[in-house]
Amino acid sequence: MDWMEIVSALALLMFIIVLLPATRNMMKNSAKGTLADWMGFVFPVVVVFLFIMLLVKLV
């Protein structure tokens, strides 16, 4: 394991620790979405996924 991997691991750990309180806060205060709201998110994400598949075919 070289020093770059150790520094990357430490940096990732630091970001996780820093982001944890904000994540807890957002989890508590986020509005609850309805099924229709979630479908409005799932649809574009599925399109993005299919688009990536197309790019993989093209490369």
């Binding site: 770059m4 957002m26 986020s30 574009p44 993005v48 990536i52 490369v59």
Partner: protein, 223 residues
């Protein structure tokens, strides 16, 4: 009657303010992307070593998380945004040089760049056209992002190529969610600071581009 006029006037001024934030965000985002492209080209020209990427990303993230929020409401905030995006662009140089040296590297870079642009513009257009409120996704996206960071941390020790491919794919999905979330926040007045809005959108574009490069690099390499 007067109350109706007052409400209409308030609604109209709020819409104008939202449009102003949106316009300023897209203007600053375009300039920062251009600046990143210039610093990436400079870094490629200077033949910077691979560790430049790690140092730039850690430095850029630290400045974005701890310094930028203090200056976001002053003109210094714009300078800091250019510093962060310039650093991240500079860090991209060695990565782009590495991909450019592959047999079909030019194709991989072009497809990643075009793919990132298409994903960003498509999702932004979707959020702007539907005007849906995606604020309910905040907690979900943050938890997803934390889990991805944990998986990336684990994969530094495990070194599984399939896992890094999976992480890149999930990062693109989560960043796609963040584009919808951030754009929806601007539209609905949840984000009124265009400096913070710009850095949020820039980070999503940067992450999508890096992840696409990785996916297309692995899948396009027959060896």
């Amino acid at each position: 009657m007067n109350q109706n006029y007052s409400t209409a006037a308030q609604g109209s001024s709020s819409a104008i303010a939202t449009n102003k934030v949106l316009r300023s965000t897209y203007m600053l985002l375009s300039l920062t992307l251009l600046f990143s492209g210039l610093t990436a080209a400079l870094s490629m020209f200077m033949n910077m070593p691979p560790m430049t990427y790690m140092i730039s990303v850690i430095g850029g993230m630290v400045i974005a998380m701890f310094v930028l929020p203090r200056f976001a409401n002053s003109s210094a905030g714009i300078g800091i945004v250019f510093l962060i995006t310039g650093m991240l662009g500079f860090g991209l140089g060695p990565i782009l040089s590495m991909y450019a040296s592959l047999p079909n590297g030019g194709n991989i870079i072009t497809l990643s760049l075009g793919g990132t642009g298409a994903i960003f513009m498509g999702l932004s257009a979707y959020a702007l056209a539907t005007r849906k409120d995606f604020s309910f996704m905040g907690g979900f996206l943050m938890v997803g992002f934390l889990l991805v960071l944990l998986a990336a941390l684990a994969n530094i020790f495990l070194q599984i190529p399939a896992m890094s491919l999976m992480i890149s794919a999930v990062v693109i999905m989560i960043m796609s969610g963040f584009i919808l979330y951030d754009t929806s926040r601007i539209i609905h007045g949840g984000e009124t600071n265009y400096v913070l809005a710009t850095i949020g959108l820039y980070m999503t574009i940067f992450n999508i581009f890096i992840s696409l490069l990785q996916i297309l690099g692995i899948m396009g390499n027959d060896d």
